[in-house]
Symmetry: C2
Subunit: 358 residues, 2 copies
């Protein structure tokens, strides 16, 4: 619970339980990040591998936040920025961070742990109040990151997550308690301040959020849920697929084929992405070579929204909880529903326990 | 909460939140099943694909239960039996069920849905009080089973589970709420009594159990946790691996290679098993053919306990939460700790919510 106090000190505008918007590359930009923050969460801009436009997005966010209520005032710009570190430019990122001082910088998939240390040092120097968040997907990664980077926040990503993550992994139900135990033990034995632990992967609504809290998280990240928000920068064809797909354990899959088709070659062997199964994937499984698949993909791009769907070929990154998403809502409504809903779930269950009905 | 009332009616000896022992083939026999039941849970005997010994195991359980306290009295034999339906003999199973009238019969992996209907009809006729439990791993399976078999209990298995399950799937954090919603909607629209939903896969302690309850389960199944119980029938080499392994998302894997090496050829393409990575798996990934791998496996069997371990070859089925298991305990202690611990987790979190500290 100390972690929650730390969160409310570091991000004074938040309401708890904390809901966070994942830094989805090309999709989570100023509009989405700001609306999540204005609803009492923490919104992130997905800078990803490309830092060239980061200053523009931060400027937009700053402008959008100018007339916001005093309740979200902060000594930093009250949103975060997320990087895919193997491909992002540190120099460009630091210029933007120094100028706009976002509340948090979220690192993911570095080329090496030592490069992550360089990033952390750079950000801490450029903007001392910007907190360092690092996303991991295994206990080993958690230990390596906590020992070397000493992040403020550790984002624990389970394998149900949409988009990129570890190709092999466990879900939050086993990963999160183990990481929490190991990290707290490590902090105790090595006199490191334990990072705040935040959960990501498979959470799209109140029940998943409440589950993550019981597993030891001090807040929850959602990506896929915000794909179906008014503020996401997302083609209609993609968004329609998010609403349509059900039974995500069967209709989404972790694969590298979309990286191959899009020419995103920088990811290490350890990482791939979860997306909705379509022709690009089924043809690949049936034996179509990457080269031919890539050509078909490039043709499909020209179709626009019609390129998505089970018979389409376009990348449709989404998590396994996709079947729980039924309608497009405002980011504000999503944040509030998940936050208040998680409290209701916990209150209702505890009430049932107290009277012996659970 | 009505589901919990139904559970306490159907299994009058239980204490809630309900903890269930998975019907692990060859491992969960009379001793383990009875101790779980005596601790207020529901123990299952793992009959698996081989029903020949079922009567013997049920007789043992009956004997063990003879002098148990009146609190666990029941009109049925207060344990369940679990089948792997594609390989089990219905005729032999029914003889045992008719004679011993176990509280529940748990079905898993049938050759077809229609064969499952035959099993359900047979059991209901042989022992009307025996409840029908069916394990599923996807929303589609849940719908098919509820519509055709109308089970009393639906066991929803997430992909973190050890041993056999769907090769492709989601974890409980996304699968469980979606199945719960779909099944309740189905029951409402088709005037079917909705089954009680129970969660399996990745739960080994209180936090995972509490999470499953927030996700909509009325009880939790544990398998891997009971591998490290005094009552499990398990070689020392296997049990030592359960205690040793950590970071299960990385050190366990879903694979068919152990079925190949053991000659268990009856599983459909849709199913495989999660086990701790060892030479059998790494050699297979490196290109060793099944035939040669099988020969090496058969040699390894002769080593006894020394055949387990990272450098060993023996099958070590276990779930991704294996890193949270640190010591061998009695089944009784495990059941009580998880049950009371889950209540504590929910109470503590709700308390934090109430005072605004979560």
């Amino acid at each position: 619970m100390d972690d929650v106090r730390k969160l409310t000190e570091d991000y004074p505008w938040i309401q708890t339980p904390l809901v966070i918007g994942a830094p989805m590359r090309l999709i989570a930009l100023a509009d989405l990040a700001v609306e999540i923050t204005k609803a009492g969460g923490i919104g992130f801009i997905g800078s990803g591998t490309d830092t060239d436009d980061l200053s523009i997005h931060l400027q937009s966010a700053q402008k959008l936040l100018e007339n916001s209520p005093s309740s979200i005032s902060s000594s930093t710009l009250p949103i975060g920025v997320g990087f895919i570190n193997w491909g992002a430019s540190l120099a460009t990122a630091l210029l933007a961070i120094e100028k706009y001082r976002p509340a948090a910088a979220w690192f993911f998939a570095p080329a090496s742990i030592s490069s992550l240390q360089t990033w952390a040092e750079g950000v801490r120097k450029a903007s001392p109040e910007t907190k360092i968040w690092v996303q991991i997907g295994s206990v080993k990664e958690a230990v390596d990151v906590v020992e070397s980077v000493k992040p403020d926040v550790l984002v624990v990503q389970g394998t149900d997550a949409g988009g990129h993550g570890l190709a092999q992994g466990a879900s939050l139900i086993s990963l999160l308690p183990e990481v929490t135990d190991v990290v707290h033990n490590l902090a105790r034995t090595q006199s490191i301040t334990a990072p705040v632990v935040i959960a990501a992967g498979g959470i799209v609504e109140a029940r998943g959020a409440a589950a993550a809290l019981t597993l030891g998280a001090s807040g929850v990240v959602m990506g896929t849920r915000f794909l179906a928000s008014h503020e996401a920068v997302i083609p209609k064809g993609y968004r329609d697929e998010v609403l349509r797909a059900n039974d995500g354990g069967q209709t989404t899959v972790r694969t590298k084929v979309y990286d191959h088709c899009r020419g995103t070659t920088g990811w290490t062997e350890t990482h791939n992405g979860r997306g909705i199964v379509n022709k690009t994937h089924t043809d690949s499984v049936a034996g179509l070579c990457h080269e031919d698949n890539k050509k078909l993909y490039e043709e499909e791009v020209k179709k626009g929204d019609a390129g998505w769907g089970v018979e389409g070929r376009m990348t449709t990154y989404a998590g396994s909880a996709i079947g729980l998403i039924k309608e497009v809502k405002s980011a504000k409504d999503i944040v509030q529903e998940v936050r208040e809903g998680a409290k209701d779930v916990l209150g209702r269950l505890n009430g049932a326990v107290v009277v012996g009905k659970l």
